[in-house]
């Protein structure tokens, strides 16, 4: 009992420490299968912990945990409220499902003797992402960001194609710039306030709002986060990275890393700098809407014109990030709810889509449009899943995608931003086009005679199960919206300083 209670008290720490410690353990275990089991176990444990935390938060309000017993603001505080609880669940959950998928997928794409390194990187990445979400310390955010980023570069570089290395390198360069920006930003804040604890920062910044360094800090952090989340003009690293990473890694990264960056932006703009400073003084909304709007449109258009399907999905991810930014820009309850729900929903749909492509890659290697001609008749389950997830991406009612898009439209229209509403409609149509294109080719075109497609079989169960888990999640959260919307709403309310 007391043990249980004690454990419960240390959940925030465990959330990070567990994957952190098990990462080196992977190196020791070495053997591929065993490593997978470890990673799987740890990730699942992390997922359970995250759920427990979410339950706590929704029950008893924000949880604060002083690392090493040093009370904030001197020590490092782990602070969990609805928002980051949700992010924790998302990250750990996706990681677990992606690992299920990875079991058979990875050996196909990663040389056997390097698999254990792959999972090590995976766990480190997980650590970083969870850490960013869980910590209440600005500098700590930077540290974990770097951990996750470095791990991610590694994961990308495991890709089988030679382009993977260059993509990873490019990602590294941009990621480092982003990291540095954030570091400088945090440094400036520390210089001005002498504290790194977020809550503390928020208070001490009150008087210094109009000072140039604070504005600079804001700019640094904004751009830094923007780089990490591939906000439109800063997106160039993403397509290559997602496209050339191993399928399982693509699933994991695509579903999580940008989301966490969005979380960081939310945290800083709302919790630390505060709404009125960010939106009234600096009129952040303008910048965001411009970047987001252009991004959503350009990225969707690019997605339509891609021949490589993973690249297509990567572009659509950039567009989706744009949606989240629009939601943030509205700075009203509905808009923010939309962004936060979309963190989750986009993870679900994009995860599913990348998994489907993983299945395709598993069977026929290539994931180019022309290669999947007529494949749907050989892999109906895979493409059935792809279709459903695609509908969710488009935002058809009764899929998760509809929920977030609906709230987003509400938020946008509350501010009377008609043009944006139209833009959303148009880009949804573009989504119809690029998803529909794939489906049409896969269902109605005929395979080139003598191609691998003709001999292809349905993907193995071990990959279909996680795939369909995500698809069903898409449908489930499309109908039972109470849970995600509820959490997101309270999170949004907290960010806006409202009380529901």
């Amino acid at each position: 009992m007391s043990a249980g209670a004690g454990l419960a008290a240390h959940l925030p720490a465990l959330q990070v420490v567990l994957p952190l410690l098990s990462a080196p353990a992977c190196v020791l275990l070495y053997h591929g299968a065993r490593v997978w089991w470890l990673a799987m176990g740890v990730s699942t444990a992390a997922f359970v912990i995250a759920l427990a935390l979410l339950a706590q938060v929704m029950g008893a309000g924000p949880v604060s945990y002083a690392l090493g017993g040093w009370a904030a603001p001197w020590g490092i505080e782990y602070r969990v409220d609805a928002l980051n609880a949700l992010v924790l669940v998302l990250v750990s959950g996706v990681s677990s499902i992606a690992l299920m998928f990875a079991r058979d997928s990875v050996p196909r794409e990663v040389a056997a003797e390097r698999i254990y390194l792959f999972y090590t990187a995976w766990l480190l990445c997980l650590t970083g992402l969870l850490g960013i979400a869980v910590t209440g310390d600005a500098f700590n955010v930077f540290v974990f960001l770097e951990i996750s980023s470095l791990a991610t570069y590694a994961l990308v570089s495991f890709g089988s194609e030679r382009s993977a290395l260059s993509a990873a390198f490019r990602y590294l360069v941009m990621g480092t710039i982003g990291g540095t920006c954030i570091l400088i930003g945090v440094g400036l804040l520390y210089a001005m306030t002498g504290t790194l604890n977020m809550a503390d920062l928020a208070q001490r910044l009150e008087p210094l709002r109009d000072s140039a360094p604070v504005r600079a800090a804001f700019a640094f952090i904004f751009v830094g986060a923007g780089l990490k989340m591939a906000m439109f003009p800063l997106h160039a690293w993403l397509p290559g990275a997602y496209a050339s990473a191993p399928s399982a890694a693509s699933v994991f990264i695509a579903a999580t890393s940008t989301k966490v960056a969005v979380y960081v932006l939310l945290r800083f703009t709302f919790t630390i700098f505060g709404v009125e400073f960010s939106f009234d003084t600096l009129a952040l909304a303008k910048v965001l809407t411009v970047f987001a709007a252009v991004g959503v449109f350009a990225a969707s258009l690019a997605a339509i014109l891609q021949a490589d399907l993973k690249r297509m999905l990567a572009w659509s991810s950039i567009a989706q990030v744009g949606y989240m930014l629009i939601g943030i820009a509205t700075a009203n309850l509905d808009g923010l709810t939309a962004s936060i729900v979309h963190l989750l929903n986009h993870a679900l749909m994009k995860g599913a889509l990348f998994m489907a492509l993983g299945c395709v890659a598993y069977r026929i290697g290539a994931v180019r449009l022309d290669a999947v001609a007529g494949l749907a008749r050989r892999m109906p389950w895979t493409f059935g899943a792809f279709a459903l997830a695609g509908l969710s991406l488009v935002g058809v009612p009764f899929t998760a995608g509809f929920v977030s898009k609906w709230y987003l439209l509400l938020g946008v229209l509350h501010n009377g931003w008609w043009p944006l509403a139209v833009l959303l409609a148009v880009t949804s149509l573009m989504a119809v086009v690029y998803v529909g294109k794939v489906l049409e080719v896969a269902w109605f075109h005929t395979a080139a005679p003598g191609s691998v497609t003709e001999r292809a079989r349905e993907a193995p169960l071990s990959m279909l199960v996680p795939l369909w888990l995500l698809v069903l999640a898409n449908l489930w959260f499309g109908v039972h919206t109470a849970l995600p919307v509820g959490v997101a709403r309270s999170a949004a309310a907290a960010l806006l300083g409202l009380t529901l």
């Binding site: 439209l409 409609a425 949804s428 149509l429 529909g436």
Partner: protein, 489 residues
Amino acid sequence: MSAAVSLGWIIAVPFAAAILIVMSDPRPNQREGVTLAAALLLFVLNAALVPRVLAGEALVLHLAEPVAGLPIALSVEPLGMTFALVASFLWIVNSIYSVGYMRGNKEQHQTRFYVCFAIALGATMGIAFAANLFTLFMFYEVLTLCTYPLVVHKGDAGARAGGRTYLAILLATSIGLQLLAITITYVIAGHGDFTPGGLLAGRIEGPIVGVLLALYMFGIGKAALMPLHRWLPAAMVAPTPVSALLHAVAVVKAGVFTVVKVVVYVFGIDLLAGESSAAWLLYAAGASILIASLIALRQDNLKRRLAYSTVSQLSYVTLAAAILVPISIVGAALHIAAHAFGKITLFFAAGSIYTAAHKTEVSQLDGIGRRMPWTMGAFAVGALSMVGVPPTAGFLSKWFMLTGAMQSGQMFAVAVIVASTLLNAAYFLPIVYRAFFRAPAVDDAGHAHGEAPLPIVLALSITAACTVALFFWPDLALLLARDLAQAAR
């Protein structure tokens, strides 16, 4: 059985039927038996509702609320009742017809055909009884998706091309424009429940009204308002029963039904009548009536000619709604029923000709009326109804449209009706003349054929009879339509 419950059943029956049909796959008789039974049951359930509707009972069934503020609910109102009655009755007839047609032409994938058909009817019922915009939109999309397999039934390149156009236009318009319009409505009004007098009444004014109206009218692609009509001719690659029940009744009527619902229950005719920015609809509808007729004039393929005639006839309903006086709303409601009976008869005839004589072009029909007197007789009745000549149903709706037009002094509408009457005659009468008064062309003097299989002849005779009967006994349709006009006030 409480009314609300029976509402639930009305939605449930077709979907249940679909499942049963799947399960009875290898056994055609059982499969078609299930279809027929379901159709009958559905019609009975609908008919049972009529007295309650006429009594003015408000029947609401709250199903779920997936997203806060977006309940999925059903409710009965006169227009929906009319639509549901017509659709469910014609489903019976069409099932009889389908049996004859699908077997007569030895079509493939018949089970898939009947399943999709049942689902389509379920969706149609959902549209007819939707209590709010969101529910309606949802079933609207279901209808689009579940009719797609029917359109591409043949599976060849042509069918796929047609299906592509079909899906592209319907999805694009509904997701791109209609959903946006619906959202805007929810934001402005706070809810999307259809309310007599219009749920936007008094809430908006100025150019935005015209814009929103445009979003709706072009968002409702199924109403085939030009230039968004292309999907309808494209859908003609489908087997004739599909063209008949879905693309002359269920799907297209779902479109104009939504149009009328939007005009009456979302905007309210007073709001639109008072708003100059909404005036464009009348002219758009008129233009699409005339242009479609002119195109129909030049089609030699019988089904295509019928398709374009449908496009123009659908815009009749839009036009009637756009006249914006209660009496013309009556016309709109009546035309939904009247055109349904007439046009399904025409399509039945086309299918009958195809089955018996394997002819698809108008120019091949010389003297066919002597071999297939019942088919072509029914065709003649349907044609007269399209022209709007008594004693056929078409006259009723035309009468109320004209009365409305005269009442509101809309001389443009009057002129359009005059012109389109002549055009309709110009492209339908030649067919009748050929069939009955020309000697059969020389080439097929050799191979003789008689009437189509009995189920087909039976079906088209029934619908033709209904087309005439509706003229002599319009009372029920009229009562429902008048109630609708009341709600419009």
